[in-house]
């Protein structure tokens, strides 16, 4: 996995390395015998494989574990996105609004969220897409989402400000 390089090369490269407290300094490494130098070097490699062009010793296991987690997460995410659309109601044929902007709608008050998201999606599917095409409809959808978020934020800030002024006045 690693190739031996000359001590001089390695030490010149170490000048950009950020040593942690308790780790040997460049001067100390320079004075070490070859074998001990390679041992210390491998410890530093483990800490930050990028600098040496190598990876941590257990990188394959880590990658495998990450894939396993991703595999487990996939059906959960799929269920999350489809939970609102039961199988018999799924509108697979019609285009969906941009998911990113739908995600942004989490910023609006929870009591209105479901209805606002549903209304925007219905307008997207049944009015704007047939009228303007998917591309322009997506832009309009994004614009409406931004307006809804801006409105929610302004209302929230105004509410906090009024609350603060009222609290100050009532003191």
């Amino acid at each position: 996995m690693t190739s031996k390089r000359s001590k001089k090369d390695v030490i010149s490269q170490l000048k950009s390395f950020h040593f942690m407290p308790g780790e040997p300094t460049i001067e100390m490494l320079r004075t070490l015998p070859e074998k001990e130098f390679q041992n210390k070097l491998s410890e530093l490699r483990y800490r930050d494989g990028r600098i040496w062009g190598t990876r941590p010793p257990n990188w394959q296991a880590e990658r495998k574990a990450a894939w396993e987690v991703a595999k487990l997460a996939k059906p959960i995410m799929k269920a999350y996105w489809s939970r609102r659309a039961p199988q018999n109601l799924s509108a697979d044929e019609s285009p969906s609004p941009p998911r990113f902007f739908e995600f942004l709608l989490l910023l609006i008050p929870i009591r209105q969220r479901d209805h606002v998201v549903g209304d925007l999606e219905e307008e997207f599917r049944s009015i704007t897409v047939p009228k303007y095409g998917k591309r322009l409809a997506s832009i309009l959808y994004a614009w409406q989402v931004l307006i809804e978020i801006a409105r929610a934020v302004i209302t929230g800030v105004r509410g906090v400000a009024f609350g603060w002024i009222f609290a100050k006045l009532s003191k």
Binding site: R83, R84, A85, P86, L89, S90, A91, S94, S96, I108, P109, R111, Q112, D114, H115, V116, V117, G118, D119, L120, E121, E122, E123, R125, S126, I127, Q144, I147, E148, R151, A152, T155
Partner: protein
């Protein structure tokens, strides 16, 4: 003439839209109705906030319908105008009519 529950302009628009749409009054349709008739674009958040306020005043009632595929499986929230809402609308119109009576030469025939 009772004026304790006078309605704002936007509240009147919402109530009139609910009245027009009858059994099909929900957020998106109310917005489209207002847009078609007044050429004003309003946000859904503003509509729902006003509807919530009117519901708290007892002028409208709401119920949740069945999920539909075009809404991604989400349910519609329908609204219905109640007697107190109709009364408030009548009073608001009467208020404006009484204030504008005799001003037709200046304001024109509108109202």
């Amino acid at each position: 003439m009772p004026t304790r529950k006078s309605l704002g302009e936007f509240e009147q628009l919402i109530l009139l839209a609910v009245l027009r749409l009858r059994d099909d009054a929900y957020g998106m349709r109310i917005r489209l109705e207002i847009k078609e008739r007044t050429k004003r674009t309003v946000s859904l958040g503003a509509i729902y906030t006003t509807l919530e306020r009117l519901e708290a005043k007892g002028m409208i009632t709401s119920w949740v319908g069945d999920p539909t595929p075009e809404r991604g499986g989400r349910a519609k929230k329908f609204f219905k105008l109640e007697a107190s809402g109709q009364r408030a609308l009548r009073e608001s119109r009467a208020l404006v009519a009484s204030m504008s009576s005799g001003l037709t030469p200046i304001l024109g025939g509108a109202m």
